[in-house]
Structure formats: structure tokens, C-alpha cells
């Protein structure tokens, strides 16, 4: 059945308050999933790291059902999207019998939402290759994310951040 997966995204957005940027939303869901939040969206590797077409569509569906609002904002040279749940979204998850680890999810989502999408792109890319040894993960980042100019220090910060998230999950 589909609705529980929609409800989890609403719950996640509720925990976050709002999420600014499609890329950020994608990465928060991916990292949340890696931290064992019960999310099911399927991810593959794309231009900015792990990406889920399923999540893109699910969010569009939530907007069309009136449970989430997407506000488009013009930024210098590009558009940015802001996501928030609506009153109907709130009353939907109040009624919906959802198994969702509220406390843990809220802590993780807040941690993630406090970082830039560029940093989350780095973290999610490193997690995507988490079966590889650390030096190979670094090599992957430098090869695949050349245009983002991540430094050794960024990578070290990301490892520490992943470590802190692992303690929460």
C-alpha cells in the first residue's frame, strides 16, 4: 500500500518545519534512510549524488493532494523550492496510523536540516560508497565531485558528522 510512505514524508517535513531546496530534501531523506529511519524510497547515483525519482514524484503527489506546499523562489540564476506541510497534511498524519520513530527522526532531521545542501551532498555521496574503505571513498568524492571542490577538511568534517549521526540511529 502506498499511503504509509507518503505519510512518512509528511512526518519528516513536519519534524523539519520546512525544507528549502529539492536537493536538500533528497539528501535528507537519503541520509535519514541510511540512518535507519523507516523510509523506502529507492535511490540511484545522479549528478548531485544519491537521487530518488520516486521521492520526486511522491512529493509532487503530496502537493497535488494538498498535504504539502511547494513554493518556488527566484534566486540569482536559478529557482529554489521551499517545502512545508499544510493544515490538511497535519490532520492527515494525526489520523493516519503511522509507525514512525518520532523522537529519533526529529533529532536526525533537525541535525541534517541545519547543514547546507552542498555539505549534505558530500555526506550522502560518502554514505553511498560506505561499503568501500575510507581512502577509496575519498577518491570517489574527488573524482565524481570534482566541480564541488571539496577539501580534505570537508571530508574529515563529513566523517565526524556521519559518526555523530550513527550515535543517534
Amino acid at each position: 500500500m502506498v499511503l504509509p510512505e507518503h505519510a512518512k514524508i509528511i512526518a519528516l517535513l513536519k519534524d523539519a518545519g520546512e525544507i528549502v531546496g529539492r536537493k536538500k530534501l533528497q539528501k535528507i531523506v537519503y541520509i535519514g534512510k541510511k540512518m535507519k529511519l523507516p523510509l523506502q524510497e529507492k535511490y540511484t547515483f545522479h549528478v548531485y549524488g544519491p537521487y530518488s525519482e520516486e521521492l520526486t514524484l511522491r512529493v509532487e503527489e503530496l502537493c497535488s493532494l494538498g498535504f504539502v506546499t511547494e513554493t518556488k523562489e527566484k534566486k540569482a540564476g536559478y529557482s529554489q523550492y521551499r517545502y512545508k506541510i499544510t493544515k490538511n497534511g497535519e490532520s492527515f498524519i494525526e489520523k493516519f496510523p503511522l509507525t514512525w520513530p518520532r523522537e529519533q527522526a526529529s533529532t536526525i532531521v533537525h541535525q541534517l536540516n541545519g547543514h547546507s545542501s552542498k555539505f549534505l551532498e558530500l555526506v550522502s555521496t560518502m554514505l553511498y560508497f560506505d561499503e568501500l574503505p575510507k581512502p577509496e571513498v575519498k577518491e570517489k568524492v574527488f573524482t565524481l565531485k570534482k566541480s564541488q571542490n571539496y577539501t580534505e577538511q570537508d571530508i574529515q568534517e563529513a566523517w565526524e558528522f556521519i559518526e555523530s549521526l550513527n550515535h543517534l540511529s
Binding site: 500500500m1 502506498v2 499511503l3 507518503h6 531546496g21 529539492r22 536537493k23 533528497q26 523506502q40 529507492k42 540511484t44 547515483f45 545522479h46 549528478v47 548531485y48 537521487y51 525519482e53 520516486e54 521521492l55 520526486t56 514524484l57 511522491r58 509532487e60 503527489e61 497535488s64 493532494l65 494538498g66 498535504f67 536559478y78 529557482s79 529554489q80 523550492y81 490538511n88 490532520s91 492527515f92 489520523k95 560508497f129 570517489k140 573524482t143 565524481l144
Partner: protein
């Protein structure tokens, strides 16, 4: 062991209804086609349950994989000698095109949902593990299988190579649109691929299209749009897919509860234990799955028996539109009523959404994760397609989502619980199934 690739003494050809001929000149490709893992794709339909809607849709992942290889071969012919293209990548591209779907299982979309598995994970596993495919690939060097897997997984450093197999205008999509149109018999899905290939140009980041080819690309985008609504998203196919998923869900549940099967699901055991060896995965194909479904039409469990009978005899669920009004006002009530009349809502009241599908529309960019299609303009600058094409712009902003509620309509007309059944019908009739024009 023979290393490297040799040209075949004589070119081999496969007759193909979509591309006329598929040409094989490399021993590497010929031997990959002959592996047992690749031959297994003959027993897996490309479009899963679509054959229950369009009876011609019996084509397999084998046909499609050969088709993607052939398109890649033709793209490379156009790229040869051009800037940004290195002929060293030729066999890598051809192997990746041929093997990109090698990890697909029977009805893989439903299997993946119910058993939380992933055909892309199996694709990598087949390529890098001790398999016939891996042995053939290793003739090109110890790291060659890994490179092929990286291209398919989109983590290979050369983005141009990745874009040929996985972008918004790639060999995979160009084959499946035409092939699925041909075998379903619909008149959509056709576009001038020869023209697109002639105007495709390599750049450092991706393949782009010369401005003069814009109208051919418009046709391709339109056919993708039409095929989405007319074939891939057909409500009858979705009904069959819903029943298939529910069969798997029921089997999983019964196995967990220790139910005594007349026909025990031996081939599914690894899925239940989340520990399926590759050798067992490769034994699963559609004939095996259909054998079980056939046997389970005689099971004691009434739900499994009914769902399998429906699938085998095409007695599918009916549907209504599922919208916000429905979710907020009727959904919980409907579930209660189903329980009251003795119909298990977990299996017989099912919402299906567009996000459940492995197909999508063209996305023009704007903080998106997908690289849009770029046109190479006369001034050598790149422009995103929808900024130049009114047609593409018009359909890029169209509604792409849809939800339907599936249920066994005929059970609402059987004797017993007449009052509750009438209440159910009243709710459902307030949300009639709107079909997209032409469906």
C-alpha cells in the same frame, strides 16, 4: 585465457523488428550474449504485467538489451573521430549497454517493493561476481567488470559515457519507447531515431543535440509523454500489478506465520530470509513464478487462492480516482466497511500512485538532479531544450501524478451485508474512475 577483444571472422546479425538488424562484430559482445546470465533475460518480459492489457507485449529483456546495444553501437559510429570521444571507451559502452538490465528478475518491480530488493544491486553482483558474464568481461582486464558496473551505476568518472546509457535521451529509453510501442501495437512511441543519432554530439559532460535536430527530439519527448499515459500508466496494467504485489505480500505473510503450503515457495526462500545467494536469484524467472501462481490457485488460504486465480484468469480489480477529498473523508470509513463485510482491506483495497512506476516524464532542470537535454546552438553555446521548444515547454509543466483505488467490484454485488455493501458503493461512486483520454 585469451585476453583482449578480437573481431569476429564474420559479422553476426540478429534480425530485429525494431532496428531491422543488430550487428555484432566483437567477440566480447558475442560471448556475453552467449552467457547463461544473459540468456536468462529471454525468460523475463520487458513490460511485466502489461501483456494482460496489450496482448502483444510479450517481448523480453533479452530483445531490449540487444536493442540498447545496437543503438549504442550506432551512436559510437557517429562519435568516432569527434572531440571528447575516445575510442578506448567503445567496448566499455557496448558492454554496459548490453548488460544494463542483467540484474532484472521476474516482475521485478513488484518483487522489489515486497521483498525490498533492487535489480541494480543484482546487476552489479552479476557483473563483479564469479559468473560467466564476469569471466568474459575479465578478458579485457581485471578491472573491466568493475568499470562496466560503474558505468551502469552512474559512478564512472567519464560523464559522457554514463550519459549515453543513462540520461534523459539515452540508448535505453530510445530502445524501450520504440520496442514497447511496436509490441503493444500502439501508434505512439515512434520518433525519428536515425535523425537524432545523426545530430548527436559528444561533449565533456554529456551527449548533446545539434539545434537542427530539435524537432526530432520534440517527437521523442512527445512519444515519451504519450507512452507514459497510454501504455506504462494504463489503469488495467496497474490493476494486474496491484494483484501481483498482493500475492507476494500474502505469500510473505503466510510464510512468516508458518502456514502449511500445499506448494511450498522454495524458490522464494532466500527472499524471506533476506539471504538470497546469486545462484538462487538467477534460477528465478517468469516461468518459475507463474508455476507457483498456478499451483496456488488450489491453496487452502482463501486470499492467496483468490488472488492467484484472479491473476491467472485476468479477473482484475476495478478502480476509482483517489483524491484529497477521498483521503480526508472516506478512506478510514471505507476500510471499516470492508472489514465489516469480511473483505480484508490490506489485500482488497489498494491505492496505487504514479510514484510506484519506474517511468517518468522529461524534466527540464531547475535545481533538479537530472541533467536536462541540451541543444548545441549555432553559436556553439548550450541551451536547455524546453527554453527553445514551445512543445516541450508545454508538456514539461503538465500534471504527472495520479492515484487510483483498486478493489474487487464484483464482491459488492454478492449476497450478505447488503446495507454495508451499498454504503461502500455509494462512497466509491462519488469518485468515479476518470480515464485519461484514449485509455
Amino acid at each position: 585465457m585469451v585476453t583482449g577483444n578480437r573481431k569476429l571472422e564474420e559479422e553476426k546479425v540478429f534480425k530485429d523488428p525494431v532496428h531491422r538488424y543488430i550487428h555484432v562484430r566483437d567477440e566480447l559482445i558475442w560471448d556475453l550474449i552467449g552467457t547463461k546470465e544473459f540468456q536468462r533475460l529471454r525468460r523475463i518480459r520487458q513490460l511485466g504485467t502489461t501483456f494482460l492489457t496489450f496482448h502483444g507485449a510479450e517481448h523480453t529483456r533479452f530483445n531490449h538489451s540487444l536493442g540498447v546495444y545496437e543503438i549504442m553501437r550506432r551512436i559510437i559510429d557517429v562519435f568516432e573521430g569527434r572531440p571528447h570521444w575516445s575510442d578506448d571507451e567503445r567496448l566499455l559502452c557496448l558492454s554496459a549497454a548490453l548488460l544494463h538490465d542483467i540484474g532484472h528478475g521476474p516482475f521485478s518491480h513488484s518483487f522489489e517493493k515486497v521483498f525490498d530488493t533492487d535489480h541494480e544491486w543484482w546487476t552489479r553482483k552479476i557483473i563483479v561476481s564469479d559468473t560467466e558474464v564476469n569471466h568474459v568481461l575479465r578478458r579485457m582486464g581485471e578491472d573491466f567488470p568493475q568499470k562496466v558496473a560503474d558505468v551502469i551505476e552512474k559512478t564512472y568518472p567519464n560523464k559522457l559515457v554514463v550519459s549515453l546509457i543513462s540520461s534523459q535521451i539515452d540508448a535505453d529509453r530510445m530502445d524501450y519507447l520504440q520496442r514497447d510501442a511496436f509490441y503493444t501495437g500502439v501508434s505512439y512511441g515512434h520518433f525519428d531515431m536515425e535523425r537524432i543519432l545523426r545530430v548527436m554530439r559528444p561533449t565533456e559532460e554529456q551527449a548533446v543535440i545539434k539545434y537542427t535536430g530539435m524537432h526530432a527530439v520534440e517527437d521523442y519527448i512527445m512519444s515519451r509523454y504519450q507512452m507514459y499515459w497510454q501504455v506504462y500508466f494504463h489503469p488495467v496494467t496497474r490493476s494486474a500489478e496491484v494483484i501481483l504485489s498482493k500475492i507476494l505480500q500474502r505469500v510473505k505473510m503466510l510464510r512468516l506465520e508458518g502456514y502449511s503450503f500445499k506448494q511450498f515457495p522454495h524458490h522464494f526462500e532466500g527472499f524471506f530470509e533476506d539471504n538470497l545467494p546469486l545462484s538462487e536469484y538467477l534460477k528465478l524467472d517468469e516461468s518459475v513464478v507463474m508455476f507457483y501462481f498456478h499451483c496456488w490457485t488450489e491453496e487452502e488460504d482463501p486470499i492467496l487462492r483468490d488472488l492467484c486465480t484472479r491473476f491467472m484468469n485476468r479477473r482484475l480489480f476495478k478502480y476509482v480516482e483517489f483524491d484529497q477529498d477521498f483521503v480526508m473523508n472516506d478512506w478510514m470509513k471505507l476500510q471499516e466497511l470492508f472489514l465489516e463485510v469480511g473483505i480484508h482491506p490490506d489485500y482488497y483495497l489498494v491505492i496505487d500512485s504514479s510514484s510506484d512506476l519506474p517511468y517518468d516524464f522529461y524534466r527540464p532542470g531547475e535545481e533538479e538532479e537530472r541533467i536536462p537535454i541540451h541543444l548545441l546552438m549555432p553559436d556553439r553555446k548550450l541551451r536547455e531544450l524546453s527554453r527553445e521548444s514551445d512543445i516541450v515547454e508545454a508538456i514539461s509543466g503538465k500534471k504527472r501524478t495520479d492515484h487510483k483505488l483498486y478493489y474487487p467490484a464484483e464482491w459488492l454485488d454478492t449476497p450478505g451485508h447488503e446495507r454495508e455493501k451499498q454504503q461502500i458503493k455509494d462512497i466509491l461512486q462519488a469518485h468515479p474512475g476518470k480515464r485519461e483520454p484514449g485509455l
